[in-house]
């Protein structure tokens, strides 16, 4: 399978432009995550790839073949829906085996595959139950199993974990990733949760208002966000943004500093008042109000000797400033002045 290619894919619902000329290459065998705020078009794009909606203009190539005229059934893709969309009147076994039954595979093969997949997902004790008698997590796994059974060209996941509680979600993330790696099948995963994107993806595509803001590996996106939007969307707690004089000092309209790069240091040059402290044991996050008015978050070290109400000094770690121009696009790091000591702190 040579991957999925999108060229200028555009889709409108009525007057509303949902995806705007998307160009994207989904590499074969990789786990690609579409992430973005609600309404950014990521789910629509997934459905366009699945064939459940029509493309208004542009090209979609699945495994090198133009898929525009192919019905969803014929594209060889498998989808895991947000609501699972299990067949409520069929047992788990029948749900899993439906695709093979539809393809008229021999009964023995269907039984074998079904049991294999059930094994893989720890569903064997539930094979004869109906979806109504399963828990959320179990239904989730049946939905995944249904996709697995078909040995598709690619998996399409539409926010499959959003209906689960936090602990189950964390567990399932790992399981899904592990399965995908084991099978080596291309996967496209849609989520609005940036943490999910970061932990699962080989490649992240950040969407906003129907366009691709940035595409790259998690570390690329984290370390070199292409725009203020991406910088603020990825990473929790959110990146700190400062404007005004401090930004101008760095030659930018806005600068961004991640909380872990903002240290409370008496030798720092930024003054801020401590507003609140989130103590998590291994970590603590200090919420501060800068003199210039912005709220900042600094990742603090365990030994804290200040309280809410105190004024402290903040220091930005060297080389940790992200600069953004007037269009909120990232500016490249400034070339060091000849002879300057690059280890000297940025002020």
């Amino acid at each position: 399978m040579s991957g999925i290619v999108l060229e200028g894919v555009t889709k409108r619902f009525g007057d509303h432009l949902v995806t705007d000329g998307i160009d994207l290459v989904i590499p074969d065998g990789a786990f690609t995550v579409f992430v973005g705020p609600s309404g950014c078009g990521k789910t629509t794009l997934l459905r366009l790839i699945a064939g459940l909606e029509d493309i208004d203009s542009g090209r979609l190539l699945i495994d090198g073949v133009d898929a525009a005229q192919t019905s969803p059934a014929a594209r060889g893709l498998a989808m895991v829906f947000q609501s699972y969309a299990l067949y409520p009147h069929m047992t788990v076994r029948a749900n899993l085996g439906f695709a093979l039954k539809v393809a008229r595979r021999p009964r023995a093969e269907i039984a074998e595959r079904t049991e294999q997949v059930a094994e893989m997902l720890n569903l064997t004790p539930f094979l004869d139950r109906r979806p109504g008698a399963l828990s959320g997590g179990q239904r989730q796994r049946v939905a995944i199993g249904r996709a697995l059974v078909r040995e598709p060209k690619a998996f399409l996941f539409d926010e499959p974990l959003s209906n689960l509680d936090a602990e189950l979600r964390a567990q399932m993330r790992i399981e899904i990733r592990r399965l995908q790696q084991q099978l080596g099948i291309t996967a496209i995963y849609v989520t609005h949760d940036q943490a999910e994107a970061m932990t699962m993806a080989d490649r992240i595509v950040v969407f906003r208002d129907g366009r691709v803001e940035q595409a790259g590996s998690p570390s690329e996106i984290y370390r070199n966000p292409a725009s203020r939007f991406v910088a603020g969307f990825i990473g929790s707690p959110r990146m700190n943004f400062l404007g005004g004089a401090i930004a101008a000092k760095h030659g930018a309209v806005t600068i961004g500093v991640r909380p872990e790069h903002l240290a409370i240091d008496p030798a720092g040059t930024i003054s801020a008042a401590v507003q609140a402290i989130e103590y998590l044991g291994s970590d603590s996050f200090v919420h501060l109000g800068a003199q210039s008015g912005e709220t900042l978050i600094a990742r603090g070290v365990p030994d804290l000797d200040f309280r809410p109400g105190d004024t402290v000094q903040l220091r930005i770690a060297p080389g940790a400033v992200h600069r953004f121009d007037a269009d909120d696009r990232a500016m490249p790091a400034p070339a060091p002045a000849p002879g300057a000591n690059i280890f000297e702190e940025t002020v």
Binding site: F13, G14, G51, L52, E53, D54, Q69, P72
Partner: protein, 295 residues
């Protein structure tokens, strides 16, 4: 995401969509529209089965003859009266019954079974039962009731054929009205009613100012549905009076012109009048009912 969310064109569904809809549409076209067009054509032609050589376009002369014939106006009037009586009786009776059922406690299920029964009885059976077992002036049940009160037995079908038929049809439709009104009553916010009671409103006032406006919509629907069916009352007339000026309605007029006098042209004209009538009546009645109840 439910299906009716938005009209989204999906190419892989368009073909099947049209294909699957087509047979139903074709059957309806063939059984309703096509014959209707033919009826229009016949109504404008001189077509009598006893004189097969006469034919050809005669314009509106069938209509003129129809209107002038001594049977037409009575049939029209009878149709109107039939509809009016049945609507009034079934809705008033249905409302009363619905109020009683709503307020009662014991054996609601059994009550519903009793009340719904007339609706499922086929019209020929209803008509014959009423004519013979109940209304028959010699040994019918009503005759016996009259005797209990010292009154002479009433010969229903001789003296008031249309009323008798209307009574039978109203009996059949009362359950329908009652059930719809009952459902609507039960959906009426209880608290609103209680608040009004606390405010000192009498039951009659509550009925008039609160319930009736709420019931305006279901009543309008009952009027619409019943009118559609009442225009075509046929079987009851056939098996009781067999026609006759006093009890013929438009539907029976069409039948007798076609099947008894073999005048296709005239019958078609009458049929079309019935069709137009049906539509006008339905629209007019709904508007009138809606307005008067919400006032």
């Amino acid at each position: 995401m439910t299906a009716g969310a938005a009209i989204r064109q999906r190419s892989y569904l368009q073909g099947p969509g049209r294909l699957l809809l087509a047979p139903a549409i074709l059957l309806l076209l063939a059984a309703s529209i096509a014959p209707l067009l033919v009826t229009i054509k016949f109504s404008l032609s001189d077509y009598r089965l006893l004189f097969p050589d006469s034919s050809g376009f005669v314009g509106l002369s069938n209509y003129a003859r129809l209107v002038a014939s001594p049977d037409f106006v009575p049939a029209l009037v009878n149709t109107l009266m039939l509809i009016a009586i049945v609507l009034a009786a079934s809705i008033a009776g249905g409302l009363g019954l619905a109020l009683l059922l709503d307020g009662s406690v014991i054996g609601r299920g059994g009550l519903r079974l009793l009340v719904i029964s007339p609706f499922f009885v086929m019209p020929p059976v209803s008509a014959l039962l009423w004519k013979n077992l109940l209304m028959q002036p010699v040994s019918g049940f009503f005759a016996w009731l009259a005797a209990l009160f010292g009154l002479p037995a009433y010969d229903w079908f001789s003296h008031a054929p249309l009323l008798s038929i209307a009574l039978i049809v109203a009996w059949q439709w009362l359950p329908f009205a009652a059930l719809i009104l009952l459902t609507s009553l039960q959906s009426f916010d209880r608290e609103l009613r209680e608040a009004a009671q606390l405010d000192g409103a009498s039951p009659a006032a509550i009925l008039r100012h609160l319930l009736l406006p709420h019931l305006a919509r279901p009543i309008a629907i009952i009027v619409m549905i019943e009118t559609i069916f009442l225009i075509g009352v046929f079987a009851e007339i056939l098996v009781t009076t067999g026609g006759g000026t006093a009890s013929t309605d438009l539907a029976f007029l069409v039948y007798s012109q076609a099947m008894l006098q073999y005048d296709i042209g005239a019958a078609s004209a009458a049929g079309l009048v019935a069709v137009v009538f049906a539509n006008i009546l339905a629209i007019f009645l709904i508007r009138a009912v809606g307005r008067s109840l919400e006032a």
